[in-house]
Point group: C2
Chain length 347, copies 2
Amino acid sequence: MSNHGEMAASGHWGPPYLLYLGKPADALAIKTARGLAYWRPEWCVGQHRHPDCALTLGFPDMGFAQAKAKGADSMVVGTANAGGVMAPETVADIISALDAGLNVVSGLHQKLRDNADIVAAAKRNGRTLFDARESNRRIPVGNGRKRAGLRVLTVGTDCSVGKMYTSLALERSMRRRGIATDFRATGQTGILVAGDGIPVDAVIADFISGAVELISPAREDGGWDLIEGQGSLFHPSYAGVSLGLLHGAQADALVLCHEPTRRHMRGLSHYPLPDLAQCIEANLAAARLTNPAVKMIGVALNTASLAHDEAVQACRDISDRLHLPCEDPVAMGVESIVDNLLACCAS
Amino acid sequence: MSNHGEMAASGHWGPPYLLYLGKPADALAIKTARGLAYWRPEWCVGQHRHPDCALTLGFPDMGFAQAKAKGADSMVVGTANAGGVMAPETVADIISALDAGLNVVSGLHQKLRDNADIVAAAKRNGRTLFDARESNRRIPVGNGRKRAGLRVLTVGTDCSVGKMYTSLALERSMRRRGIATDFRATGQTGILVAGDGIPVDAVIADFISGAVELISPAREDGGWDLIEGQGSLFHPSYAGVSLGLLHGAQADALVLCHEPTRRHMRGLSHYPLPDLAQCIEANLAAARLTNPAVKMIGVALNTASLAHDEAVQACRDISDRLHLPCEDPVAMGVESIVDNLLACCAS
């Protein structure tokens, strides 16, 4: 976590965090804060909620000055707003947080630095603003050259099926086994969890694979990089990002992520989900361009919408059909996938 | 060509053109000007060369004021500079052109609008600057919905194998046959030739397919869009762009472009070129996601480096092997490819 703050051109940001929930439209609207609460609870000192907010992440409710007094460094704004505009009350709260001495980091589409009032408040308080969906780094064009180290990339049948959670669950499991591993973030929530990374869907198209080469450089310690995937080769809107990720990652191993109750590709009611076997074959074929030895080593099933019995049965069915370990990283863990990874790929 | 100037937020640009050659390092350095000279000679009133420039595009040499007097509207700067910096003498010439009353359009990586002296000169002369490698348009995320019209996309074994020339040759041939067709540009030279388009490799990664949907909208006249391809599914640096293009194009027909003397992928000496049959299969498989009826209808071979006999033989060999028409669009035309297109796909 030593990289905190290096991405911010203009100053430091990082934990301890105050999680800003505001007045969310639904549970999905707080997914960035939820990701931090789940994966880095030790970094979170409290949550800030609008009086009408019915959701909670289980942390103490506190105001901005109180959070600062409790040691918070930065407030995390992850609320997704309908309509793509930052709500006036969110802007007002961000300014209050800056006035209370907190830095502010955001996973919103709308940039903090595009709001003149927010920028002015940061300036007068000497605070840092960090937009996690934006990359200010100079990214080289990908070169495809073989680099040292071992890498796992999560791929998906669709967007939002659990690629970040799976990568982080692999990191946790492997670290517990004493294996050197680093989660490499490619999306806004992952970047806040990792304290570093590049939002690959926000880079210029020519530099997708170069961005992935940059965040997962050569490593000589025998350890693993666990690279967060994005999108799906079968999503007509975003497949270019997924292919650039596959090529830049030079993955030794892929894990396929899937949500078994999804009826159609996210946002596209006219596109069905791909067959799992077809999806595995397409990802392996594409990944072989930069690593001919790549293997598919497991399926991570997001069973949040299933009853426990159904979830266990769904994993068993997929495992039998594809001859791969299949688990829900959140509900069941990833031990059988890690076992297979180490059996297949460890040198 | 009625779209000229619509892309420029700040004013008009368009033909007639003065082609600026400057002092090019080699023939490749003037490829944008050469593309215009080849495909739109009727738009070019002259060329401007440094005294040391040994290359010519065959137009009368003239100064900036002289070009303006001959009716030139815009000067085209397409010279690629080594090192990625605009040479001081190029900057000085651009300012002189603006002072002479010409608008300036550029296909350079370096932006005209990033140079304060150039911007000041444009302002004081009331002239327009247009950077063809930049997109200022609001681009929606791709939606993959089937849209009316017929589309051909050129794909390649590699970058720089003739995809733009092939698309333009198809447009010329089909127009001569009385078929309504429009070249849809995706790169800086193509955009200057078409007077419109979006440089898809310069858009944000999430919007690649959306950009292609935007430049090739539904058409109800029974005519064809001929979409300029970019990169290659087999180029580790740029394949994401190529896949987004395939999905956004919803192509009814693909033409594979290839340069038979190329020893390795452009810029990557450690990557061999893909086998043609494998390349065709991979492109068709990816394209089927948004158009299951897509067909490969021919191979365009760039035989500029071969003797005539060798070129004819190379086309014959490929044609026999792949059971597809194979021609060099520049040296031989594209009539057999168009014949096959109309036989396979015309409704």
